[in-house]
Subunit: 346 residues, 2 copies
């Protein structure tokens, strides 16, 4: 099947050029249609500059822009002709099958929630990201959508992540872990401890708490946390990788022998750097929205944009949202879960 | 001046042997007295095994042990003869000048709060840790004591960290930053946004929000966060460093050239590893307690134990707690801060 993927040309630190170049890469690699949503004159300029047959893309004019630092709620409310608002409305009206944006994350989450709406039964959307681990790949949800978490939110993130890991990442009976400051069930803040009680009533393969040092160990397939903690965890890892790289270069450059060694391992270093740059590869999935929304890193280059389009196509191909709705519905409406939710006062 | 440093011989993954060996190193390097607090027979066995003159240490029998996984509150309440409980009581009674433990962190925090008590005006203790950055060293507070944070807690962590960074780390007018998910003041959960209002009423060198990717950039001298987030940030960085190391070795070992390169940079790699192992070096300071308490990493080896003793001596030498009390008192009792606290409903 051929899908229509909406792409926000105005969003991202390197918009519109890198986004457009990403669209070109995607158009070359995938058979699906790309709908470019952004300031028409800027899109046309890119088309001229790159000497592209204009017929290869559908263009939708969105004359307003939401800046990376703007307040999400205000910008969505006031800028009705922004690429994010128009893209989300097109997604709601099924004029596109998925929407990809590397713009203001908060605005994308807010726009998706208000215009596309959440899946039935889902209380809050969460951003899911696939990360490399010592044993392959895992996913982590939420890395920045929800900074006011309740037990039901984290519980539903776990259910949705489990579906995604199974269908898209090919994990059989995915292991779901809860990011916490200790392995024991009694550790951590109360809202996190309550999540254990909810998972206990399901057949989700819940393995309990996971300590942050094991995020990259591959001990579990789906790591559940709130958006503040998840965002910090993600950004710390970027920072550490960068700092370690700098320390290593500084140390190596102190001696002649080290410099020769550096030349010999340069390719390996570059490959590791690419492997750790997961935040820029592909995009994050906005889980819980009643439509496919992919949020790319603000720093996305053309390759990352193309990969974000690939993530959208994967979700569509595996009909991930249908299965998520089914699972959320079945699990959250079960009497035992309802009873536990009641006892938690949620 | 010669200090008496109490050392918990029963706490830590490698207790009692590594702790005892750490005491030997400390005794050799520092002129101060080491008071060994733990199971007397185990201490005596170590003294025999290492063929040490028993007169070099004061021994205090603490027959009970608190395990690393035990509930902090329960263990402190029930095990009145544990090394942590006895050590904290000795600190309260000024029989020792500082107490160092690599045991159960929660129990140490709980014991310190209950037995030693907090400084006047301090609402919650926080664990401060010195970390390496691209521009030297910084400190981060709280990395695990307080998972139920309020604005006043984070505010006071910033004040105390500023004093420490000035007196011990030698930073002039230390820059204090608030760990958050964006740089703008409007970002993050409400309790964090409120902290801005409090700092605005002081002459603390508050630079606003700091994103997690910049924890290791050296952009600020004191990074303030709650204990859950701080603990996650710290442990993620351990995990990333380890995972990157593994990825790099895997990549390098794929080719002959890389293996030669690896040999040539091995020393640099080892130095970077040591640099990043900050969590095992020295100890963390339990700030806000009315006495010097140093919490070592559970994995501490002899060298880390010796360094934790050094951290205690540094705090004593600079009379850090006196200055912290003065600053907390002056800043928190100021009419503007009191007014802001009132407006926040705190």
């Amino acid at each position: 099947m051929k899908y229509k993927i909406g792409l926000d040309i105005s969003g991202g630190d390197h918009a519109p050029e890198e986004i457009f170049k990403g669209a070109l890469l995607a158009r070359k690699q995938f058979k699906d249609d790309i709908v470019l949503i952004g300031v028409q004159s800027e899109i046309e300029e890119q088309i001229r500059k790159h000497n592209v047959d204009a017929g290869r893309f559908t263009i939708v004019d969105a004359p307003e822009k939401i800046g990376m630092g703007e307040s999400p709620a205000t910008s969505i409310r006031k800028k009705r002709n922004s690429s994010i608002t128009i893209g989300m409305k097109m997604l709601r009206d099924k004029k596109i099958d998925a929407f990809v944006s590397c713009g203001n994350t908060g605005a994308a989450v807010c726009g998706a929630t208000l215009q596309v709406g959440l899946m039935e039964g889902v209380e809050r959307p969460g951003i899911g990201l696939v990360i490399p681990t010592k044993k392959g790949i895992s996913m982590i949800v939420d890395v920045g959508a929800n900074i006011d978490p309740k037990p039901i939110h984290l519980f539903q993130y776990g259910i949705m992540a489990s579906v995604y890991a199974n269908l898209v990442l090919g994990k059989n009976n995915p292991k779901v872990g809860l990011l916490n400051i200790g392995e024991e069930e009694s550790k951590g803040p109360e809202y996190i401890r309550s999540v254990h009680k909810l998972f206990a009533e399901t057949n989700v393969n819940f393995i309990g708490n996971l300590e942050a040092k094991d995020i990259f160990s591959g001990l579990c397939d789906c790591i559940v946390c709130d958006g503040f903690v998840g965002n910090v965890a993600l950004k710390v890892s970027e920072g550490v990788a960068e700092t370690m790289g700098k320390f290593l270069l500084d140390e190596i450059k102190k001696g002649f022998i080290g410099k020769i060694g550096l030349l010999l391992i340069m390719n390996s270093l570059k490959r590791v750097k690419r492997l750790m740059d997961y935040s820029e590869h592909g995009g994050a999935m906005l889980l819980g929205v009643d439509g496919i929304v992919i949020i790319g890193h603000g720093r996305s280059n053309a390759l990352a944009v193309k990969n974000a389009v690939r993530v959208a196509i994967q979700e569509l191909t595996h009909d991930v949202n249908l299965q998520m709705k089914t699972s959320i519905n079945a699990i959250c409406s079960s009497p035992k879960v309802q009873q536990t939710l009641g006892a938690l006062g949620a």
